[in-house]
Assembly symmetry: D3
Homo-oligomer: 251 residues x 6
């Protein structure tokens, strides 16, 4: 029995509140249990200097936590005057993951900015950010198509992320909350497409190491979680999901 | 007729969603029309070095906007590596205003951190921050009293803030939205106690100047707005308001 | 009787030493009692990017204190690597105030930089900076007209600033020196045109709050001070004042 | 046939030049083909504040490249005034990996600083850094034992790292050089103990994604590489390796 | 004939205005021709951490230019967020030079801060800073002795600095103004005691190099300049100079 | 007898390992005793903005120490977020010195970047950097001539640097190692051409001052050292030295 009563293969409750903020082209508040992240997608009609004149676009991400998203208040990175290593790692991961499923040629010379702002944290903020950002990206692409800026549906597949880990007593667990994450011996984040292909795999032995066998059990669990998250994404995207599915089938 | 259909002496719709985030001692999402600010109050059991050993506390504030709180995406201050002058001005104002109504001796050697994070902006973010932060502070003080950390109710009076301004055609206006604010000739922010005492008064002729007569009209409008905001604060604080009222009456 | 023997409605001795430094287009050392500020105006033949090609100019200000302008030595902001919030507030105020009386279209695509460097501080440095900067600006405009760069006199009115405040024993005071400022319950800075129009009004209850009645008394005092400062500015500007007066009368 | 003539399961030539620099407690120049990294280990007799008084130590790492380690000159991070996200990711990885095999209680209240400075880069700098840093750490621990500062051998197992990747034509490859890395569809870094346990696993689909089957092939390759690297480490450590082996067997 | 009519061995007019600013323990405005520098000396009753508990003091210097000290306005270093290399070089030079003539044991655990702020620049600002700072230091030491903080006169000798240089047409020149400095082939700054001992010697071939013979001519010129400057320092220090002379003679 | 057994006029053993790193146009590892510096020269086909379109080039230098080049580990300047004053002084010196012997017109619109990275420090790192950088520059120029980028040999003379100093017991010393440098009363760095012309001369009385006679003795010593270093440079440059000699003779 887990700390919050879930079974070891069970996700926390996941919800997506779309159009959460009014200005962005795509906006979602994702909740995975008590982890809540505002994911906003901005479409800007220009690209960074290194891409100018090549007819293709770019997608990049930024991630931050409100100071009191956590149990202890964190000092703002703007006050410190620099972005922490952890933050950079996470925002590079989010950007890289979304870049894998977005056809940059189809969006033309545009930049998509993904902003993931954690307003409440209870473990798994980076995976929730990716799963929520995918929905914000899809909404923004739909809006850009309606506005005639983008001609063809540019997203190649669904994308979701989930954490898995090993607890010394309970064994392999899916979707760790903060207490589980802090106690875990092994911590792994898995980013996959709707088609069960790996996009990113990051596993770390926190104090212990892990064997090839343990890795396989963790990856089986992660696939279960990804399936459930992608099903939720399809549900919340509704008619947009239809369009994406047709794109996936080559229709 | 104003851009959003209001009368010149009318506030936008104001709501307070308390306990919006779970970790902080006090947490409120204030909405004034489309301006939405998360106001979190953190109580920390220590004071900055310049106050150590004096038996009294401190209150300070930080303010930020999410990048896409605005129509155009703003670059994060953490990415720029420094806090903008406008941000500093606003957070100094919020801290100073709350300091006026909080009895720092009654909270002992503790620091209250107020974090105001604008998730959607439509004018008046600094005044909404003060009005919302007051409620977050009251919730945090109530919690500290229940926890036995603070013995006596430390808040001396209600506190709210509102903007007023002069439009070249419509004259004096209460609670300007973004479009009105951008067009205003004179822009004034008024912070008052529940008792109609000024805490802070900041008036600026943007392109025009203003006369003593116009000042008086603006201040009359501001008092109307403050009354309505304080009434809302009392409503949302419920039993805590009772306690504060008794404190104000010296009971 | 005030700490330095003045009456409550009396300014400290004010002097303007023009052409204090040789390189700037306009240069003034203003002394208000023991507060001494070097105010330099630089005219640069280009505008910031956001104004290019619009045929109009810009005015901006920077403010700093020498480390030993104060009783205790202050650490340089260049050593700290960032500009303090207080400094930003003051330089934004100076720039905003001067912008109100300068016709930016008449100066063409030029930027006026105002540098206010406090070499000795005894209270009221921001108001002395504005009052002195106005004279430096007028000198620089005169020089630009003589050089044929600017065709028409671009300054719309006189501009001066003064502090007023409330002392718990002596009541309302005009032009506070440092000791008075440190003890004041209410501190207010008023920026006005020669024509008694408000340009900026900033009042703060430091520990106490203030009533509408007190506000009115403070504003009456401020008007007295502004009148005396503008009279001094006219005197020091001499023939330039003549020209400005004609402009004000529409001649 | 690979770009440098190697077979797909072949490492580049690996050498360790110990005591490369005279001041550090442990110093190694590792070469993996044309990738050359100076790995220095410093033992400092104190711990960071968060660990004081707990009787245990800490290990942390820093990573940098000389500006001309690469084909194009890179701007120094000290000139830019901030450390890049990529650098932070790498140094966090190195520190985390070494922390897994070092018994922090056995080193007492000491900090081990690992400095990895790449003087010439040809792909795989982060994995070479870990493999070389392990040897520098072992040398520094041996010196600390000889100096009587540390009583018991504190390293729990061998540690090495290697890159593997997928090329669209040649398939899975071990130990990618720069040209291979730039062309790879999938890039994976594997950190393992001498005992075939995972310490860290980071796989990224650069433009493509990868399947579970591909993952398994890559991990088989990585195990081959780790075995060869650990064999080299034993050789270069000589008598120290003896001691470590006894520790591993519990003798 | 030089650009300003001087002979090649002639200094510009030198004046020292003592007690220029009221707060510092020692304050001087030095003018060397059109170069004007405010030199303030602050005595602080503590030393930097590396000197605590050793019973001796420290002296350090900071140097800055007002933005419009020069013909073209310079951007403030506080706005840029970092101190330029040139500034650092100069302030390190000033501190080092004064450290040579101040007996740090005699001032006890105190820090003397020297602030040199150039309000108008016309070449030779670093040498004027040293020559003026010496006088500010002497005034501050006199004040500390009168206040009973320092028991014995701590200054070991007079100290002054002057620039010399080589012009391709006019040959060796003493005390270069800005125009001469910009045209010079060789630029040298010489810091000497009243006793003709070198404290610091910095010669640079700007585009040309210089021979041992040229060096000797330049040093002869520098000695002439130093003699004249020290004579002026004695004059302005008056009775303090008496005291210093007795110290120098061992009386 | 000196601390390392040398005579007072003797240099430490000097070696140059050319082509030390493979990517740079010129690369040298210079060792002067235990001081070891990697000197890399990069030729970039563009100039800084202030030189564009003038048909001539630029040379600039950067200097750094690895954290453990010294007995105590130094904090990286990239971690501190700013470059120390000492570093700036040294890199400005290196750039200025090389600029004197390089004909910037002959290299066309190109920038030469000199990177001096100290991997092991034992005194004299700045002089070793200059002496080694000269060789790296010569190698890079040779390569640029072979590549047809530069038409004519652009280096005007040999360039080397050496430290001299005064020890209170042993008197004047050539080429001080760290222990000698730390104990020296006077410290002087001399940069000269192969032709005995001064390029830069920096002498500092650390605690003592120095007389004109001592200066002359130190300069005689420095000339001896420069001669020996230039002889070594000729030897290591081999056929390139031939070419340079012909250039010097005007052949």
């Amino acid at each position: 029995m887990r700390v919050d009563g879930r079974g070891v293969t069970e996700l926390r409750e996941v919800t997506f509140e779309t159009n959460y903020v009014k200005h962005p082209e795509g906006s979602v508040l994702i909740s995975m249990g008590d982890t809540k992240v505002i994911c906003n997608a901005t479409v800007e009609d220009r690209v960074p200097p290194f891409l100018r004149g090549q007819g293709k676009g770019w997608i990049t991400a930024e991630y931050a936590m409100l100071p009191r998203a956590t149990e202890q208040r964190n000092i703002r990175e703007s006050s410190k005057g620099k972005v922490a290593g952890r933050t950079m790692e996470i925002q590079r991961l989010i950007g890289r993951a979304l870049r894998t499923v977005l056809d940059l040629e189809k969006i033309g010379e545009r930049t998509v900015w993904i902003d993931c702002d954690v307003i409440q944290a209870d473990g798994g903020t980076r995976t929730a950010s990716i799963t929520g950002a995918f929905v914000a990206l899809a909404l923004a692409m739909e809006k850009s198509i309606k506005a005639g800026k983008i001609k063809e549906w540019p997203i190649k597949d669904y994308l979701a992320a989930v954490s898995v880990g090993v607890d010394s007593e309970k064994g392999a667990l899916l979707d760790l909350c903060y207490l589980e994450d802090a106690a875990a011996e092994v911590d792994m984040n898995v980013v996959m497409t709707g088609n069960h292909q790996f996009v990113e795999l990051q596993g770390t032995g926190e104090e212990a190491t892990f064997s090839r066998e343990q890795l396989n059990i963790l990856l089986d669990l992660a696939e279960l979680g990804i399936d459930a998250l992608v099903a939720k994404q399809k549900e919340v995207l509704g008619p947009i999901a239809e369009k994406m599915n047709q794109g996936l089938k080559g229709e």
